[in-house]
């Protein structure tokens, strides 16, 4: 053993080992890093030996998990050392310490190239190894031709050529264009004739990558692969040193069969026959032996052969042979084989006519759900999920439900999601579906996401036959002593809608229903209370003739919550209380929910999104498409009158404290008209999750935004906040990729700060960093690929509004795996406007093309500079700007009720500076700012807000500036911020008729106008 002793390194490692705790270790590491740093500073005095030693120490420290943020230059510079020992250390440590995106690698490209084209074989090996391990795009572009030359050179020894093959593979992965298909296919075929097994193994890996992208160009390699496989598996014609536990290079066999799986078929009958002969031999000739390694190696080959057989669509006989083998595997004791048996059986589901044979193993598969190994349980769950169809859904789902009570927490969420999906897809009847979901909630309420119970509600709403049954079931669960909050929600909802069907049953009188639900109220969280309030209102509505007793009880509750701190609850309490006094009108307003439009299940979408594109999952998708479940057929009926859902939803949105009854009945009229005429709303039913959630809850939602929409007069043609927000969800429905987080919320957050995440989904994250100076801005978009494969066809278009000049630098078409690309965007503000720029962004990941439209936070307030004024400065200005159009005044209602302090904070986050003490009235705010644009230059803006302490939802605002457009735009902008509730639950776009016409502000009877303190 020839260890190159490095005393200093050994001493350091011993020291670290002797550290008693993490703190000591850190101290020792810090001391060493300090030492290395000082030594590197005076590089001249370092001997090559010392340099080597320090570089190794750095790697050791890096391996321990500490940040080593210096010395990279010294490490990389060792690569250009003339002597082997230094060069070797330079190459190896660079390859470990840095990754392909590191800047320092660039400076090494020339040296590396010289080593590759030089005559020194050992240097060639070092360079090829490093490039093969961490070479990036730039390496690919500058080195690929040289590496190709080495691979096919007849004068190079195998040790160089095998490294060249894998190095080229790396470069090809980074940039497929570096391998020119025309010239290379023949060379590749020649390479497969190679006798040296090391070179052949490496070349086969290269071939796998090449054919996976483009099998057509490499047809000539197909017969050679079959020959290689014959040579190994049948003739065992191979040097002794390349057998592994008596098996001819299992790795080469596996790779060869992998390459063959990328050719769609094998047309030549002779080749096909030879291949099947070999495969048959592998399938039949693999026995279980005692030696673990031999067993593993032979089964590695066997499982690859199985995949190949499946791919080639062999005759039925061979297929059933495969299933039989797998059936044997899933019952053996050896856990690895059991795992792989289950995994491959799931893949096998793709082959259509073997499903019945697989079903024979159902009992064994279900047993595997209880395996002690979570990896195996996961595979079993996947297989159960995949093999489920109408015939066995009942058994499988019931097994899953049973397993749910005992399964580990790590799996419960997945388990309940899968059970819910199967129940929905393959339900033999709908009452069974309701049973399953209620059981799910009962057993694993914490893991049942909201989408699942929303879905039940949708089904029940859309199927009248189901409604009494569901209500009865919900009633039963309420008798249980401790039920999950989700159960409270779903039963309260169902009973609110449908309990009147049960009225004659014992224990189901409105009073009894009410009291059993009301018992749960003290145990639930704030988010459930609104649902309960709605239920009470519905119960009240259904109780005909009214029972004064019950009425008083419920009114008392509404009354109690009228002063609730939660706005949502408070508003409902107030509204329901007022509505319930309306008598007969109540029945109209609180009528049963209309049917939901048919849409893809959010659950299934979610499951599809979670799944990556592996073979087994595409099998599931395939089958999902093939099989139509009963449940879907039953619910596929469109609502009889075909009335558009959006119109009806706006009906239930109405219970707002509208002081103008005409307004509301007019709206109802519109809805009915829609129903009769069956006009199809131009907006297609949205399929996105958001509106799924909104659907069932819309019954209770009088979001402030809707109200303010009606009350705040706005100029025609100016997009309202709600409309703008709608851009995003509408676009979403085309995409199968769900965004992470709420896009609207992210946008609103970015309006107030200058850096953060604009958008995120499972594949990409788009971050923003912005700097603003006067009327100019510089944004940088950070496009980060989260995957280990590249995102392609990346496109970014800016759709600027007329007042912004925007220039986006070039966006690369491909984002490499795990890489981040920065795209600067220059913005110039030409004149004041509230319009928002939109980023039209699209990319492709696998087969998914994703397109999103995102609002860019280059909004009005970004061009403001806060400015504090004294009394002497403020008032002369304020007086000089007298009256419209330079000074505008308006009463704003439906404002988010905010304490004065918070309103001042909100203004200053918009860069409008509040000058305290300027206004003698403590309920008023006076603020000032400077606005910058090309047309206005720097322009002073003054704002005054008068609030009413008795009613925080309204205020009077006065805005003044030297430019009429600016005054108007700034006023509208601040208004949007005050009334806008930046949540994702943007209300569905209102029908145009709903938007109230330009109502002039009522000047006198308005409390706002009575406010004193006009200056």
């Amino acid at each position: 053993m020839a260890l190159s002793g490095m005393r200093g390194l050994s001493v350091f490692i011993s020291d670290i080992r002797n550290c008693q705790n993490k703190e000591q270790e850190r101290l020792r590491v810090d001391k060493e890093l300090g030492n290395i740093r000082t030594r590197f500073k005076n590089e001249k005095g370092l001997t090559p030996y010392e340099k080597k030693k320090y570089v190794w120490k750095m790697l050791y420290i890096h391996m321990l998990g500490y940040d080593v943020d210096f010395g990279h230059m010294e490490t990389v510079s060792l690569i250009s050392a003339p002597k082997y020992p230094e060069k070797q250390v330079g190459y190896i440590v660079t390859a470990c310490l840095l990754n392909e995106n590191h800047d320092f690698l660039r400076i090494a490209i020339n040296t590396v190239r010289n080593d590759i084209i030089g005559r020194n074989e050992t240097f060639q090996c070092l360079a090829l190894t490093m490039v093969g391990n961490i070479g990036g795009r730039e390496f690919a572009e500058s080195l690929a031709p040289d590496v190709q030359k080495l691979l096919i050179s007849s004068s190079c020894r195998p040790l160089v050529r095998k490294k060249a093959a894998l190095c080229l593979l790396r470069l090809y992965r980074k940039n497929p264009d570096v391998v020119n298909v025309d010239g290379w296919a023949d060379r590749m075929a020649q390479l497969l004739d190679e006798r040296d097994l090391g070179v052949l193994t490496s070349s086969m890996s290269l071939l796998v990558a090449l054919v996976s992208n483009n099998h057509e160009a490499y047809w000539s390699c197909l017969p050679k692969c079959v020959k290689t496989l014959e040579r190994l598996a049948r003739n065992q014609d191979i040097p002794q040193e390349y057998t592994y536990y008596g098996i001819p290079s299992p790795w080469l066999q596996v790779k060869t069969m992998r390459a063959l799986q990328y050719f769609p078929t094998i047309e030549d009958p002779n080749t096909r026959r030879s291949l099947f002969e070999v495969l048959q031999r592998i399938l039949m000739g693999t026995d279980v032996v005692k030696n673990v390694n031999k067993n593993n190696a032979s089964h590695a080959v066997l499982f690859e052969a199985l995949s190949l057989v499946m791919h080639l669509d062999a005759e039925k006989e061979m297929m059933s042979q495969c299933v039989a083998l797998l059936g044997k595997f899933i019952a053996v004791r050896e856990p690895n084989i059991r795992y792989l048996g289950l995994e491959n059986m799931t893949r096998m589901l793709m082959v259509t006519d073997v499903q019945d044979i697989i079903k024979r193993h159902q009992a064994q598969i279900i047993t595997s759900l209880k395996d002690p190994d979570i990896s195996i349980r996961r595979r079993a769950l996947d297989l159960c999920y995949g093999m489920c169809d109408v015939s066995n859904a009942k058994d499988i789902v019931e097994e899953l439900l049973q397993y749910l009570s005992t399964s580990d927490f790590a799996m419960r969420e997945e388990l309940s999601l899968k059970a819910a999906i199967l129940a929905e897809k393959f339900a033999p009847d709908l009452s069974w579906y309701v049973d399953v979901i209620l059981q799910l909630i009962d057993k694993a309420g914490d893991f049942v996401s909201d989408d699942i119970w929303f879905r039940v509600v949708q089904f029940v709403t859309n199927n009248e036959d189901l409604q009494p049954y569901a209500a009865a079931k919900a009633r039963e669960y309420l008798d249980k002593p401790a039920i999950h909050e989700t159960m409270v929600k779903v039963s309260a909802y169902l009973l609110g809608e449908y309990s009147h069907f049960l009225a004659r049953r014992p224990g189901c009188s409105p009073k009894e229903i009410f009291s059993i639900i009301h018992e749960k109220l003290p145990t639930v969280s704030m988010s459930t209370v609104p649902i309960l309030l709605s239920t009470y209102a519905k119960i009240l509505m259904h109780t005909q003739p009214p029972e004064p007793d019950l009425q008083n009880q419920i009114w008392a509750i509404f009354h109690k919550y009228e002063s609730c701190i939660d706005v949502e609850i408070q508003q409902r309490a107030v509204e329901y209380f007022a509505l319930s006094a309306k008598g007969a009108a109540l029945a109209d307003i609180l009528a049963e929910m209309p049917k939901f439009p048919e849409r893809q299940s959010a659950l299934i979408k979610k499951a599809e999104d979670i799944e990556t594109d592996t073979a087994e999952q595409s099998a599931i998708k395939l089958r999902a498409q093939q099989q139509m479940s009963n449940a879907l057929v039953v619910t596929d009926q469109r609502p009889a009158n075909g009335s558009p859902a959006v119109g009806q939803l706006s009906l239930v949105k109405l219970p707002s404290m509208s002081s103008n009854p005409d307004n509301y009945s007019a709206d109802e009229g519109v809805t009915q008209e829609n129903g009769i005429l069956s006009t199809v709303d131009p907006q297609p039913p949205s399929a996105d999750l958001l509106s799924d959630l909104l659907g069932p809850l819309a019954i209770e939602g009088p979001p402030g935004a809707v109200q303010s929409e009606q009350n705040v007069p706005g100029a025609d043609g100016v997009p309202s906040a709600a409309d703008a927000a709608a851009i995003v969800p509408i676009e979403e429905q085309k995409n199968t990729v769900q965004p992470i987080g709420n896009i609207a919320e992210r946008f609103h957050a970015l309006c107030l700060k200058d850096s953060g995440v604009l958008y995120e989904d499972p594949n990409i994250q788009i971050g923003i960093k912005a700097e603003w100076r006067a009327h100019q801005g510089r944004l940088v978009l950070f496009l980060g690929n989260k995957n280990t494969s590249p995102l392609v066809s990346v496109q970014a278009l800016i759709l600027p509004p007329s007042h912004l000049k925007m220039e986006l630098s070039l966006v690369p078409e491909t984002i490499p795996p795990r890489a981040q690309v920065q795209c600067p965007l220059e913005v110039v503000n030409l004149h004041p406007s509230r319009d928002v720029a939109v980023l039209d962004f699209s990319y492709k990941f696998g087969s998914h093309a994703v397109n999103i439209k995102l609002r860019l936070p280059a909004v009005l307030n970004k061009f403001l500079q806060p400015l504090t004024l004294t009394t002497n400065e403020f008032f002369p200005q304020w007086r000089s700007l007298s009256g419209p159009p330079l000074k505008l005044q308006e009463v704003v209602r439906g404002v988010k009720p905010l304490p004065l302090m918070e309103m001042a904070n909100l203004l200053s986050s918009l860069r409008v500076m509040v000058s305290s003490g300027l206004d003698p009235n403590p309920n008023n705010l006076v603020a000032s700012t400077t606005f910058y644009s090309e047309s206005t230059r720097a322009m002073l803006c003054l704002v005054r807000i008068e609030t009413d302490p008795a009613d925080r939802t309204q205020l009077r605002m006065t805005v003044a500036s030297g430019d009429p457009t600016l005054t108007f735009e700034l006023m509208e902008y601040i208004k949007e911020q005050l009334v806008d509730i930046p949540t994702g639950s943007a209300p569905p776009p209102m029908a145009p008729a709903v938007a109230s016409p330009m109502a002039p502000v009522a000047p006198l009877n308005d409390p706002g106008a009575i406010l004193a303190g006009l200056l």
């Binding site: 053993m1 020839a2 260890l3 190159s4 190794w56 391996m63 321990l64 998990g65 082997y84 020992p85 070797q88 190896i92 470990c96 990754n99 995106n101 050992t122 190894t129 391990n133 990036g136 040790l159 095998k162 490294k163 894998l166 190095c167 593979l169 790396r170 992965r173 097994l197 090391g198 193994t201 490496s202 040097p239 040193e241 390349y242 592994y244 290079s249 790795w251 596996v254 992998r258 593993n296 190696a297 590695a300 499982f303 690859e304 856990p335 690895n336 059991r338 795992y339 002690p372 190994d373 990896s375 195996i376 996961r378 990556t612 592996t614 280990t788 490499p816 795996p817 795990r818 890489a819």
Partner: protein, 161 residues
């Protein structure tokens, strides 16, 4: 392909890391933490595969040391398991009955050997004999350079520079 190779002791100490896919320093630390958390808590007699973050971790414990390689979900798991064993056998031959201490103090040797075995996350050489020859050739190159450096003429040359 193999995305990374980790050698982690039973106590969770990292003995070797090699990354074939670009992970930043921060991501590396996170990956190591997550995988050790999962792997070290698995009992004996379970299978050698772990599903983690959309990828698969193939691992095997040798005495106090866990060898683990992370691959794509549709790669051949058993093949990878035997790459691990192949690596261990080569280490064993090189150090002569290898133990954790050998790898701690000669971690750089382990890197040399791994580089002869795997490049770009794919196996490059499946003959133990060939790998052993290449490593000893490297060792003698280093030795030769050392001797040259310590020869008298060289010392004189250094001193009079």
């Amino acid at each position: 392909m193999i995305h990374f190779v980790l050698l982690i002791s039973r106590q969770g100490k990292v003995r070797l890391t090699k990354w074939y896919s670009p992970y930043s320093q921060k991501e590396r630390t996170k990956v190591i933490r997550e995988i050790s958390g999962l792997m070290l808590h698995r009992g004996p007699k379970l299978c050698n595969f772990l599903e983690w973050g959309g990828l698969k971790v193939v691992y095997k414990r040798y005495a106090s040391l866990y060898f683990c390689m992370c691959i794509d979900p549709d790669d051949n798991e058993l093949e990878t398991l035997e790459v691990i064993h192949h690596f261990v056998e080569i280490l064993d031959r090189y150090f002569g009955s290898v133990c954790e201490l050998d790898l701690i103090f000669n971690f750089h040797k382990a890197y040399y050997i791994l580089d002869e075995l795997v490049i770009a996350g794919e196996i490059q050489e499946s003959s133990k004999k060939t790998v052993a020859q290449l490593i000893s050739a490297q060792d003698s190159l280093v030795e030769a350079a050392k001797e040259e450096a310590s020869s008298i003429s060289n010392i004189i040359a250094q001193a009079t520079k």
